[in-house]
């Protein structure tokens, strides 16, 4: 077993064991905290697919995170009130249906955004994805139907067949399982023909085109896949907070997702998990220590970029292995 696999297994076990222990000790809050880590890790995992494997530095993934969140919020609001959304289509409070809608909506939007953005590259790509996310953000802020800036409350957490989702541990387990499935999917894609083409396109676009693989279609597919995973995380996040607002769409959120990926290790399978765990832990620990916690957070992030190249997994599991 490689050192990285060992670290990965440790991370997976720790993320499961901590909330189980907290739950046994009656500390429900730490279950919530672990759920938050799992969901943010899932969102960052989505970004890692585009950013880590494809080299597509999307500074607009908050758009997909928020779209997932709003899919959950809007469906739940209608499911709760019984009013149809459009053309007699009903809302729902069933998580699996919500997830499908979130994923599908994000895929459509990502297809549009990606088709335009992927015509550019480098800094232009960073900026144009940012701009598209801002467009969605301002739309959400000024669109009155679903609360605008005030956001939308999900009064009762949505349901999952056979489980009481209001029990924190149950909801954590749902998120944890989805995270593990997504990680497995990420591993499969990374090792697949598609993954090979995507990673090759990141390293040498001309080479890939010269052997007859169009980088655009590969990247667009990766971008859409990436968006759907982040959107799924968004839907779960709305259920965790029982609330969705435009701040899920803000450029700070996009920045945070990038931070999670880099903190954990770009392109690493468990990078997002490590990154999310560390970030949430910092936010939690520093927030109660000092009013100026963001200053300290800034210093830590800066230190990580400058001195810990390869992120946490780079630090503990050594350099990334390439087959």
């Amino acid at each position: 077993m490689t050192r990285e696999n060992l670290v990965n297994i440790l991370l997976a076990v720790a993320l499961l064991a901590a909330p189980l222990a907290a739950n046994a000790l009656g500390q429900a809050f730490y279950v919530t905290l672990a759920t938050r880590i799992a969901i943010l890790a899932l969102a960052a995992l989505g970004l890692n697919l585009a950013l880590g494997l494809g080299g597509l530095v999307s500074f607009g993934h908050a758009a997909f995170f928020g779209i997932g969140g709003y899919a959950a919020g809007i469906l739940a609001a209608h499911g709760f009130s019984g009013e149809p959304i459009l053309f007699g289509l009903p809302g729902t409070v069933q998580m699996p249906v919500i997830w499908l809608v979130a994923v599908f909506t994000a895929a459509v939007v990502a297809l549009l955004i990606g088709a335009i953005s992927l015509r550019t590259s480098g800094v232009y790509f960073i900026m144009i994805t940012l701009a598209f996310a801002q467009m969605v953000y301002y739309f959400a802020v000024s669109w009155p139907a679903y609360g605008g800036e005030d956001g939308l409350s999900v009064l009762v957490r949505n349901q999952f067949p056979g489980l009481n989702t209001m029990v924190p541990l149950n909801f954590f387990l749902i998120c944890y399982v989805i995270l593990l499935v997504a990680i497995a999917l990420f591993a499969l894609i990374r090792a697949s023909r598609f993954g090979a083409a995507l990673q090759a396109a990141r390293q040498n676009e001309i080479r890939v085109a010269t052997i007859g693989i169009g980088p655009f279609r590969i990247r667009l597919t990766a971008f859409v896949l990436s968006a759907t995973i982040t959107a799924l995380a968004g839907a779960l996040y709305a259920d965790l907070n029982r609330f969705v607002s435009p701040s899920m769409l803000s450029w700070h959120m996009s920045g945070e997702l990038i931070v999670l990926v880099i903190l954990g290790g770009v392109g690493r399978l468990f990078g997002p998990v490590a990154g999310a765990a560390l970030y949430v832990a910092f936010e939690f620990a520093l927030g109660s220590l000092t009013e100026y916690w963001q200053f300290v957070l800034g210093l830590i992030l800066l230190g990580t970029v400058l001195f810990v190249r390869g992120g946490l997994l780079g630090l503990f599991a050594g350099k990334a292995r390439h087959g």
């Binding site: 232009y124 900026m127 800066l302 970029v305």
Partner: protein, 307 residues
Amino acid sequence: MTFALALEQLLNGLQLGVMLFLMAAGLTLIFGVMGLINLAHGSLYMVGAFACAAVAAWTGSFWLGLAASLACAAAAGAVVELVVIRRLYDRDHLDQVLATFALILIFSEGTRWLFGSFPLYLDIPPLLQGAVQLPGGGEYPIYRLAIIAIGALVAVGLYVLIGRTRLGMRIRAGESDREMIGALGVDIRTLYTVVFALGSALAGLSGALVGATQSVQVGMGEPILILCFVVIVIGGIGSIKGALLGALLVGICDTMGRFLLPQLIALLLPPAQAGMVGGAVSSMLIYVVMALVLAVKPRGLFPPAHV
């Protein structure tokens, strides 16, 4: 709509564009020469505004404050370049995004730590108070005309600096070939520090100028930073000329959009709703413009040949 109002709005758009240009010029210069994407540019804008407000409050002179804003922002920029940015030139854009994102947090909270949580007071100098008559009957604040003039001066100054001076020659050399310039015997490290400080000083200057008409507060640089990204992306990253035209385009589109869209929509909807829908559409307008420009010209209107 009268002629006077249209003229005034056009001037407003021009003035917003000039303001954006002052910020965007530094950003695009830094990218053009060093290939660095600097999210913390808005923080230097904030430094300029706070320096100006603090010194103006202390000495009673806006002009001393303005000088301080240039000096402080340039100094802050130079320090940041020496301590942090220097290590990022050979990194990819991803690391640059993260590091400068971290710098935003540090600058914002550092400023709040120094100056407290409440907005500072900064007013325009007595010399520039008041308004002038416009042809057609409108009035226009002298201060805003002065900003347009300063922007024009800076644009000309940059043109001369880059086109006619020794430093400018080195900057151009740095833009076209980063390895080459070292071979020419130019001390590239000093050049980079100087360029970064120059870009920062421009940000600080615009921070001070804008600070007099807005709220000098922590986080003031962020909304304008994003607008500036839109500007330089439309203009072509690295191109000063592109930044100027992009800034004017964004300034005029944004102002005229805010002004005209609600009126257009009012033809279709009742006034209260038209206001809301118009507000929503106009707040997205410049991003739509940007997407359209990039869909047609993926590297902006004036892409520098080498990037």
